[in-house]
Subunit: 352 residues, 4 copies
């Protein structure tokens, strides 16, 4: 192996679900070495204090968040911190030459006015934000390869955009008819103690939330608009499902050409994703289950056309913590570093 | 109490989930006495042999299905049997003077051609089918009061139609824009051993099924068309949720008048359901959880309007086995018998 | 019905799971009228603000906790408040002539030294505590009938003691061999936001907790000792199960007479519980599922004997929120008031 | 890499949960190449026909079970077939020089009389059975290294024996006091359509089964007896838990030396498992959750001592499909082949 050297990477905000997934995946990644875990509230504690099951496997302690120090030790840094905090850390890391992958919403918007409108925070860093690339490799592989700063997509936008992109890019649907009815496991809500996320409340139950005002809406619309070439407004409704992991987005849209049949669309999707190793288009009549994706970085897409209504129904299933979060960030890292985009990422789900 | 007499009722097909709910509710109903449980496969066995938890509470045995005998003992008969079987039993019971409430699909269609097209069974009994009333009391209370034969709605159509009816009846939406994205617990699939319904397969997972071809579609469309006054086609997509009970229907439609706001719509729904004790319209900004309805005969409806898209989003939550099945059948029975429509039915859910 | 009058009852601490179950059950109880809901943190809010599904069904508001006022309006008061608070409220209510049923641990111990040792709180009210009766009707029906103050059993002690009592009372086992391996749904942990109770943490998982030091241990031992006629020490281990409701206690003990067989024991249990309408002894070879009990006040008991080891294994299943909490309190109230012990309590579980 | 060659392996009976886990793990194992999947009922179909999520990842088809052919292509064969079938296939494979790892019960018993007594099948192959090694590496690493035929342990025995072995081997407990109260997710029941395993039946519920007669009892006793040096009888009670994966065994036993405290025992366990990379002993006061183990080949062991009763309580948590089945078989293969025992096996659980 000669002078092979693993690239040192760090995670700021390792104690949440995104963080622990990053730890799990980066530990098994052959090209990198995880050398830093940061978090102010747990600083000084062994990581296994937060996640006891990792004792004797992950021997790192959580350290204070000092960008100077981080940059000194890490070439690549993942930020898994709350919205509004990433944009305070990233500039310092970039300045020191780190590549930064931000899992928060801070660098997802090319237009910070949209960010401010939906997230309620003023920002002064539009110059840096303008250099950020939206980390959806299936659309923006080339830009990611050139980027120093990635705004990793939200979990819902990942599932939604992978379902919608071929249709919008190729002008197959009337964009304003697009409705995304999305369903997520509760791990998407993070590792925070909230009454509505208790098992006793959320198990054996189901509800919509954030109807007409969920913050992933403008993120979806921004990319849809870019793909369509004009401003697009979509309907997005998330639901909380009594399960730990997984997102299913059921997407409805009216086809421009009512003569298109299911097999045509499947062919179109397969061609569109020909070079995307993490997208699987299901056989005709097969609809994806979220369980298929759980544990892998794959997105499964099922397609149906209703000749009675002229609509296409696209169902996309991902693991919200992997393709919807930590795995996709690593996929972006692979591309930024010139590695194969699949390296270090699981392609076989846990099933069952 | 003097010469008070409970009305003798029977259930054909008591061993499934619909049956056991009917048993539970009818046992506690103050106006009736459950005197007969029928089922060919379990004939001769105590009911508690099938459901051991009912030993010493339900002391009936399952008996063979002999319409003559049933009619001799029962004034009211619930049929909880497979599609295509109810239409062989009901005529004989009606002839003997029984009131019949059928929980299968056999008497839900005024036009048997639709039944045959979607259920693949030829029927010769259009005369009797023409006398059947669709058992959705919130729409057809008066007809139910006069009927001898009720075709009780499916679980999905109940949730869907309670959400859509005020909009269609009052011409508030463009009917062909209606999309119903429905989610159900697995008890809706019945008590049959199927691999995809195993806990190990269905838990911690989620998928759509029957996309563009689920048999509840024509049932929904039939009533929508009647309410709208012209032929209506809807998009209906059911999903299997990892929970036992409950249905949530998330309904999308484009408003004709983009000036209507959420509070207008809430007022309209409240007025529409003013005399419907089993429908609850949520406060503004509150969206129903299926857990709220579990154990009760209530339907909870939440309403949102998206000024950005001009759409209304209506969410309706029911217990699929109660308002979606056994409870609604009993509600119909109450109306047929001239009793208060709430008698014998639970109005407080199990929560949590 | 003449001059029939419902007895006015109140609940202090209505916002937790015990409280909402009491509300649900007392609303349907034919002998009482629920007139007061108390709670300092929610005082002034409609109860439906806490539990939106009860809007238009439960029209009470939460009021401040003023014992004088409560006693003025209620003849019977249920206390569903934290340990250490009940003993501050109960004396004032008793003084004013109320009957008090306390769901906390405050009045479960005849010897307050035990309470202090396990709950870490000093108490000065041993005189009042000495008047309290342990509210397990199957053992102490006569005392309950005479009592003004009931210390309602914990959920685990209820399941454990119903399994063990016939054996201890009749000297059938060697008491110190008794091991109780108990499993509970997470609603037993109450409606508090804790990370380990999140669905994302607790679902699809299982663990023991409080091993060798759970506070229900001395409560079980106190009653076991009384039944055995001498000091008894038991092994008690609770586990958290990924479900909302239900407790199963699996109890192991060595039989004194190795010649006893399963059918002997079933006969003995049936005789022991002959006058206990809420206990069901399963047929030979049938073991209770917690789901059977969910929604009812029943306790199901299954019995097995292992001739290879000389042990009896007793499994008891209850709904932790009903027979393990609110239902049992109402059962006690029925006995205190001279009503039938089954009145107003559900005997048919939700199943499935 | 030069003349590096992966060892060809095959799986007979790949369609069940054990099979699909073997496929997942063997696909990622760096020393082997999966070249054969066998199963008579699915012969001729692509494996992805059974598990659609593996389309384009696992490109093998299921083939008929022809031992001659299998031995021609595979050096190592895993048998994941029903009890009674493995003993018909294994001899032919061994004769042709294959190494065989059987996941059924056929080769777990050194004394076939025990097998016949508990499994009800007569066997004539005691000569071959006598060459089989019980595949629990933590006890029998040396024998496994020499073996050609491994009888892989059941899932419950794995969890139970890892908890009990240090105590029995070192004579720390009175063996006949050992009680194993075990809890398993429903995937342990396999991928068969059974009503009691439906989500609607098994979710939100809990029950014991196979009390005093579960077939894993003699398997546990056989190894306990060998470790203790005399015949040992244990009490074993399995329970079905509403989750997909995971086993927790809660083991109770009376210590011979009542002076031993928890920290002593933790030290003893750590020493005992010093060379066992797949066993983790928890810190004092920490009890393992099954979720910790899910997705990894680890067994987590928590230890508590009750000075009041003189008992030790040991809790062991595994993923029933990995350390309890497929992972352990691969661990055995690694040892048989002289590879590091951890190679190709996941050490980081999915968490959450």
């Amino acid at each position: 192996m000669g002078n092979f050297r693993r690239v040192p990477v760090g995670i700021v905000g390792a104690s949440g679900y995104g963080g622990v997934q990053l730890v799990r995946l980066l530990m098994d990644h052959p090209e990198v070495e995880l050398v830093y875990l940061g978090g102010d509230s747990s600083a000084g504690k062994p990581f296994a204090y937060i996640y006891p099951h990792l004792a004797h496997t992950v021997n790192l302690s959580v350290e204070a968040v000092d960008p100077e120090l981080i940059a000194h030790r890490c070439e690549i840094v993942f930020l898994s911190v709350p919205n509004g905090l990433a944009c305070q850390i990233a500039p310092k890391l970039l300045e020191k030459g780190c590549k930064v992958l931000d899992l928060s919403a801070d660098y997802r918007f090319s237009n910070l006015a949209t960010y401010t409108a939906w997230y309620g925070k003023e920002r002064q860093d539009s110059a840096i934000a303008a250099t950020a690339v939206y980390g959806l490799p299936e659309m923006f592989r080339d830009r990611i390869a050139e980027a120093e700063l990635i705004g990793c997509p939200g979990c819902y936008p990942t599932a939604s955009l992978l379902a919608l992109s071929p249709l919008l890019k190729q002008g197959l649907i009337i964009p304003e008819t697009a409705i995304i009815d999305a369903k997520s496991g509760t791990s998407g809500g993070g590792r925070e103690a909230k009454i509505n996320m208790l098992l006793a409340e959320a198990d054996n139950s189901l509800a919509a939330y954030g109807v007409v005002r969920h913050r992933h809406t403008p993120e979806i619309e921004q990319i849809c608009s870019e793909l369509a070439g004009h401003e697009v407004t979509v309907q997005f409704t998330p639901h909380l499902i009594p399960m730990v992991r997984g997102i299913l987005a059921t997407v409805y849209a009216t086809l421009r050409d009512p003569g298109l049949v299911r097999d045509d669309l499947i062919t179109i999707y397969r061609a569109f994703y020909r070079n995307s190793p993490w997208v699987r288009i299901c056989e005709p009549g097969i609809y994806p289950q979220t369980k298929w994706a759980c544990g892998s970085n794959l997105c499964y897409i099922g397609i149906e056309v209703d000749p009675r209504t002229g609509r296409i129904i696209v169902m996309s299933a991902i693991d919200n913590l992997i393709k919807g979060q930590a795995g996709q960030a690593i996929q972006c890292m692979n591309i930024m570093m010139g590695w194969d985009e699949t390296v270090g990422l699981p392609k076989l789900g846990f099933y069952p």
